[in-house]
Symmetry: D2
Subunit: 417 residues, 4 copies
């Protein structure tokens, strides 16, 4: 199966975060067949560090679907419950650095377009999973990763090659569980990539800036219901707590150190006009231009949430359902990428950095590598996109796929010596 067929197969079978059972299954089998030592499931993820896990029901349905679709059951069982991360390792001939590449595999909960201008639809590889879609190019990332894995395996190199196939990048939910398991603790150089964004075909950036740190929280308040007329004082009013939290979270101070954002995007609670509401749910996020400000802001948000509950006698649960950090790319690796690009004729436009202006949880992998003395970069590979990312009509120009594999090969050869 060539890279185009591979990408189209993945595109037709999108799986949202932590349900990449079919995708990860295939990734494991392919990598094993190329001679890699492949770890997955509990061996590459800390389950508790995952964010925004789907419901048990959703996980079960996706698991069954993958099973019916022919996934290997032994591998599948190890991924049960959403442990869909994969890490493959290949030792070179002699000593040398550990060089890692990271690929994300998850799709989005979007209904793919059926319009006559949408190529995947016309060409018969539109999503067969209703309401799920590869609308951010991760199908391409995975296809590039597997093709690159196969080709580099037959090349001579020194040191250790590490391929990280990450689940649940969307919403910032999967990277942390791999970081916490230590999968990048021995990495000397980490290369991350993304297709598209606003870079045109034939352009490539050595690195990326303007990552936005963010945290998403889901909050549940539990009070006590009571008849609102007969015994209001017997109740513990969850909506009073939630309204107080909402107002005070928005009223947190602006930061002089950089832009910040807070938003309680969802608030739901109560059952009937004559019942003191005993439950309230909030979904919210905070963001900041710096990782430190976002942490500070998150702590303030949590203090508001905690004390708004306690003042009304409520218990509360606060779940982190997604997060992303900021990161700074190392000049050395940006240069590696651009030098490699110069040896791939397809690329003609070289940029030092390209702004992301969004959140990406590869930043957690990048920060950990840097904390332990390694170097990192996050490179953008331009491609023509049919519609913006996360749009039902999103599509990439597949011409970038083989060029990307060539680029990775050049980077790997240059780095593993």
């Amino acid at each position: 199966m060539d890279i185009f067929e591979l990408r189209r197969d993945l595109h037709a079978h999108p799986e949202v975060g932590f349900t990449e059972f079919r995708t990860a299954n295939r990734v494991v089998r392919e990598l094993q067949s190329y001679g890699y030592s492949v770890a997955y499931g509990i061996d590459v993820m800390v389950p508790e560090s995952r964010r925004g896990l789907p419901s048990a029901d959703q996980l079960t349905r996706a698991y069954q679907r993958a099973k019916e679709d022919g996934a290997d059951e032994t591998i599948l069982r190890a991924m049960d419950g959403g442990l869909t991360g994969v890490v493959a390792t290949l030792k070179g001939r002699g000593d040398g650095p550990t060089v890692a590449f990271r690929f994300d595999m998850d799709a989005l909960p979007i209904m793919e377009s059926q319009e006559s201008t949408h190529l995947p639809h016309i060409n018969g590889f539109r999503s067969v999973h209703d309401g799920e879609m590869h609308a951010c190019g991760h199908d391409g990332h995975t296809a590039i990763g597997l093709t690159f894995a196969k080709m580099i395996a037959s090349q001579p190199f020194n040191g250790t090659l590490k391929l990280i196939f990450q689940p649940a990048e969307e919403g910032g939910r999967g990277a942390k569980s791999m970081v916490d398991k230590g999968v990048v603790d021995d990495v000397d150089k980490l290369f991350c990539f993304h297709l598209g964004l606003d870079l045109p075909l034939h352009a490539v950036s050595g690195g990326t800036n303007e990552f936005l740190a963010s945290t998403k929280l889901e909050v549940h308040y539990q009070g006590v219901s009571a008849h609102a007329a007969a015994a209001p004082e017997k109740g513990r009013n969850a909506l009073l707590g939630a309204a107080t939290a909402l107002l005070n979270i928005h009223a947190l101070p602006r930061f002089s150190s950089g832009a910040t954002r807070v938003n309680v995007g969802v608030l739901e609670g109560g059952t009937a006009p004559n019942i003191i509401p005993d439950k309230a749910k909030m979904v919210l996020e905070c963001r900041a231009e710096t990782y430190e400000d976002n942490l500070d802001l998150e702590q303030r948000v949590r203090a508001i949430l905690e004390h708004s509950a306690l003042m009304h006698g409520l218990t509360y649960q606060i779940e982190n359902i997604g997060e992303a950090a900021t990161a700074v790319c190392d000049p050395e690796l940006k240069e590696v990428v651009l030098e490699a690009a110069k040896s791939v004729p397809f690329f003609t436009d070289y940029q030092d950095e390209h702004p992301l202006g969004a959140s990406e949880d590869a930043t957690f992998l990048m920060r950990r590598v840097q904390e332990r003395g390694g170097k990192v970069t996050y490179s953008i590979l331009g491609t023509t996109i049919a519609a913006p990312h996360h749009n039902p009509k999103f599509d990439i120009d597949e011409e970038i796929l083989p060029a990307a594999v060539d680029l990775l090969l050049q980077i790997a050869i240059q780095s593993l010596k």
Copy 2:
């Protein structure tokens, strides 16, 4: 069909407020057959004055159900969209007062019990409409009304007899639309009734006190959504408005003139953590021991709702989805009821008044009659109840039914001369 069969047929076919198509259809046909002049639909209700109308979908389903069940289509069409009130008039031989009796017909959205101790289940007249149930005795009220109508029609009397079959008493939603149409404007004496409550079988009260005035509101705020990180200032945040309203409604002052209650029982808004929420919905109620305090409180609640919206640039809709007033029974009519009861051997326990401690929209009919110089009362007819009102195992002791008809006959004979 005797009164027991009639009550059981109605019990088996419960219809919630404004969907009493089958019930009202039957009421119309029976009353016509007894010689009454019968008005219904738009002729006895102001559509805009109805509160808490069901969804169009619910109305249509109930309409179809009644049609399939054999309802007369001409009558049905006049009730389309929930115009299920009926008023029957019968002129006596000579001049005399206009005396009205009021019966309510609606059921509740409750799943009726299937336990082996629940008589309607054992005896085969449990609700055939899943999730609807006569759990407040209105099936009995309607059966009494029709039986009484038939019997009084053959008796000589002076003046005018008026029978009001009201839809949607539950939640305080139907009476006002009949009042606004003027159906009691010519009434000199109005007798209202309720079975059960806490009065035992064989007991009867001449009147009722401790009506609670109440208002239920459903509120919709409409703002503008925007990306919470990219352009928060472009949004108009409906949840900020709603949280402000919720806190301030609860913070309204206590009244020295009597107990009051407020409760925002439901608050729902927003879609996602990264979107400024553009919609919020609240369902709330206020209550007071006096009608005047409740009106005052409602005005304050509305001021909070209005200005909480406007301060955040939101538009708003406030719908009254239910209301009840207070009322005071006239001693003259209480005495009429008790005198009549004394001539019905079934009754052995006579009380001047019995406290309701709840809300009842017959109060609107009562107030209007009094405003125009008439007299009113609201009498409780005791019966053994198997479980509290509004409980899935609620049931009445049918022994009260023929006794109630006798009582009404005595009242009518005594009043219509």
Copy 3:
């Protein structure tokens, strides 16, 4: 000095709560001269249990004033800092019950009238202390207590007589410190009194009802100031915390068990528009028809205060500056009072109980006595008042004074046997 001169001397020298240095000094000396064993200062009060203590400055000025006015310095020193309570004990000849009478001594911070209709002004005994005034009759209470003390001392009786002269009744600030010291722990019967209220001259009530439980709190929030434009995130905003507390305190639920009240009557904070406010002060009260509801409400208010501070990173101080409980008078003692009244010809109108509809901290003494098995009552002695209590033109009809002494004598004789 007769009772009229005594009352006028006290009236001319009003001293607000905890500054009754001259008054208490005189009380001590008189009682000692009649043969009582007299305790005062730290021996009859727990300093920490006092509520709403005046400023050190106010205490010092009043102390100096009393000293200059000839107060005994040894006694004065023992009362330094506001320890102005006095308890006198006199043992009878034989064994018998311990019977206590309670008198309050404090004045109010009111400027006394100088109008030509105001008797104390015309007759030259208007307050010589600018801004302080006996506007609630406690001058009469103290004069009655001392005169009674002198007369009963020469009578034969059994058991133990205990006279409690309490400071700082106004605002509910002094009784608790005497209760906590245990001054009523051995009391079998406690008689409390008040002149006036709405009872006319010649009328007397055996007891009192409708005491209102209440708590007054003074709250200080401390945050961190910062430049509102240059570094808002460096601040900890005390006004955000206070505004949140204020809204949520008012939004606490109504109680079905009886009327309640909450009010944040004062809020002050901040210094300038461009400074994040680091300080806020609130003065508030809660009340309830029952002592238990008031305690419950106070706990809720404190929870709001605490968590509103903590959510914004503030420290807080909450000081109880006044409180009162409810109490129920024992029928036995009410009868004792009324029986005694019947033997004093002055009284011609006997009432079982009279409603207070206000707060009174004698309730703490009363509850303690009852907790330990004793009996209590609180009797109202009618008198004509020139203006309502706490009014600058308030005055009593002094005719009640000797009659009240007679009444107490009869009560004492009847009880101490």
Copy 4:
């Protein structure tokens, strides 16, 4: 009197905004003596457009002080009530542009240092007005303006020279009233200046950037007081309104278009714990990096203030007590300033622009001139300062004074041809 004596005389007689009676009086008389046509009082200011006017009492005291100090009474009377602006016009020989220079005259409410290192104190020209001080260099501005006025008057030039002596720059309170009167409507070129800031002696900037737009508001809420226990519903609670406003103002959205700030710096209301508070006062500010965002923010703040009052039945007054805009200096005039500086040997360091990072209401004059097609600049003239601006030990190095006059002469000569 030379420029040093003049500046020291002004320094010794500081007058805060709108009380510059002595200063403006002198300005008028000097300018008249040089042959200028001088307008002042109502002729150069719209009284209603003044912001943050001192109390009537403060105005009267300052007026009396000036009168006793020998001010001309005719002029004084025209400035009564705080109309202390002055505009002087001098026509040149031939036709030419209208060129304006702006000088501000007001002092600050600061107690001037008496330390031995403070030169004005040592040299005997410390403020004779307790609590008022020239701590921002406006004494120097006025001295430069008058000296320049005298010297340019004897020089030949074409066109029209306009000298604007503005009151109440501090807090952004005086400029708008002169703009609204139209005093710069005919100006082709406007030159504004400030001494010091962070520029060293001998340095000069052609223009200024980083003006901060800001608005300061003082808000009064008026409700109805009532006894908090006896009749809480009779009250209209001003603190509930104010707390709601405070929370919601802080909760206004962050702007993606640039940094914004809001701060309710002062909140005061209520009198006693048992009284529903009928009054509340807030002092607050908003700021933004752009004038448009600040206007938008101010509108949102006003909407919150208005509706928070109305929802609780309060009336409200919102007074703008200070404001400043942003402005952009025109390159042509920056060059004029720098070219002129090059011909004054004193200046050796030329900068295109210097950041202000603060608010300045000359921006209103500047914006109006530009709106009508004119050009503007705001230049900083460096001087050594003994302590930061607005500090009790602030002082300038007087060496800058004659150099500044020379610079202005060069600018005028170059511009008026």
